[in-house]
Symmetry: C2
Subunit: 313 residues, 2 copies
């Protein structure tokens, strides 16, 4: 069930040429504050501003020539829209992105700028799915799910593989959880690095479907999520949930005020721009400070796409 | 008159153990936009959030044991206050920082947090100078000027020495100019790297005393400066002006709107927090785009200390 190390390495080899080996930053202030050693994997510096291109590259590069000629399709108004467009562009593949008509024009412009074709839908899940199916049928494009696709998950593993090269002997890695692709990919890689390294998920209380899914042993829907972490509004899927169940030791939930505080803290002290979803992982570390004492902690800063005209502080 | 390469290297050796060798970042978006290769030296990631600690370390480390026992003193409400406090702390020296009573409490807290003693004065240049002189007399502390001190200037040279190791064969280096310490230090190092590399200063139209000083051949005061770049409000001094006259090829002036645009652009695209003074150097490059075409350009991002509650966008 869990992909083996060979598959993880193969995915990293596929993504490597088309993604940045993003910097791993440290902060002596934070280390002193927590009495820990923290390595921040800066996927906010990744191409397209988030880790998502890793999975997109890995998924597209495993299509047959014939499939690639017909293109790929997804529905997303978030980071995966840009990531799939960018990855398709890098791999000379046609991309169709189904986006709600009310998506911010800056996001539409970015997707169009990467050469993808935007297909508008109504801002409902039903419209997104039916329009996607229709266009998939019409074009023969392969649907790539943003998080519940094993190739996407394996692509995301590459972030931790890089992190481990710069930060040896990690004790624990924290990643935010939304759709579950990043957390599952992280857990797979961590598991192969060394059996004793822990993988922890971080989630807002206002969208704690993954926490509840682990607790109930069944995928829970993400109903009316209320959080500033706009990358974490989706629910787990059948591909990533079993991995998370098996390999993730726990999910730490954080309040909205903790997310905003962590975000501001990282901007002010580390001088880097992270989006609220990234700050969720930082907030989890700040919340459970005793748990991380004297440990070597890897934190996946998942992305840095924020609207500067609309900051929470 | 111009310090020789041996002195530049000695300063870099002194600052090295107490400062970060800050990352040099690149952006394929910006390179494509400008048709140039741009290396950003990220002094926003420096200890204390700006390049200023380089000069402070170099100046303090050249005091005699006796002088160090009596401490150092400066007046500043900006980045040099924190930098001198931090440097003094690193070198086990007492620091007295004269700060206006209306300085933001966050800045006072930082200075006090580094163990320096704050001496309050009225928010006028006259009060700053007289209070400083009084305390200098009382304590026997050595006065260290934020920008018009050859050891401070030489300390600042170390940023370009590091930059040159990561970005070979630069054609031009751009640095913002306020008091002139960074620009003079940059020019000295650049001059020793290779005679053909150009050093360019960047300055707001609203505080263009350095531009006017070069034009008139005489240090011009910075009267009623009007700019968001709060690190560039001071004027050149007799130590750095002759160096700037001899080694800086020109000063590019930029509008306030260009500074804000450049700042926002760097935050959004590069996901790093830079302060308006850093953005002035970026804005100069954007303004004179033809001048930098097909060249290898070094840009000193001088600092990242901004008030997130008070952004211009």
């Amino acid at each position: 069930m869990i992909p083996d190390l060979k598959e993880v390495k193969a995915a990293a080899k596929r993504t490597g040429p088309h993604t940045h080996n993003t910097p791993v930053l440290t902060s002596s202030t934070i280390d002193r504050m927590l009495n820990a050693t923290v390595y921040f994997k800066c996927e906010n510096f990744q191409r397209g501003g988030s880790f998502k291109i890793r999975g997109a590259i890995n998924a597209i590069s495993q299509l047959t020539e014939d499939e690639r000629a017909r293109g790929v399709i997804t529905h997303s108004s978030g980071n995966f829209a840009g990531a799939l467009a960018l990855a398709a562009n890098a791999l000379n593949t046609k991309a169709y992105i189904v986006m709600p008509s009310n998506a911010p024009s800056v996001k539409k412009d970015a997707v169009a700028g990467y050469g993808a074709q935007i297909i508008e839908c109504d801002p409902t899940l039903q419209s997104r799915e039916s329009i996607t199916k229709m266009h998939q049928k019409k074009t023969g494009a392969t649907f790539i799910h943003p998080s519940n696709d094993m190739n996407v998950i394996l692509g995301h593993s590459s972030a931790v593989m890089e992190l481990a090269k710069e930060a040896e002997q990690l004790d624990v890695v924290i990643a935010p959880v939304g759709g579950g692709g990043l957390l599952a990919g992280t857990a797979i890689a961590v598991n192969h690095l060394h059996y004793y390294i822990e993988t922890i998920g971080a989630e807002p209380f206002g969208a704690d479907d993954a926490y509840l899914s682990l607790k109930t042993g069944k995928i829970q829907p993400c109903i009316n999520p209320k959080t500033i972490a706009d990358g974490l509004l989706t629910q787990l899927g059948d591909q990533n949930f079993p991995i998370i169940q098996k390999l993730v030791s726990k999910i730490i939930r954080v309040e909205e005020s903790e997310i905003i505080h962590a975000m501001k803290f990282i901007w002010e002290r580390m001088k880097i721009v992270i989006e609220p979803s990234s700050a969720v992982a930082v907030a989890a570390m700040f919340r459970n400070i005793n748990e991380f004492k004297k440990r070597k902690v890897g934190v996946i800063l998942s992305g840095g796409n924020v609207d500067l005209a609309n900051l929470p502080f």
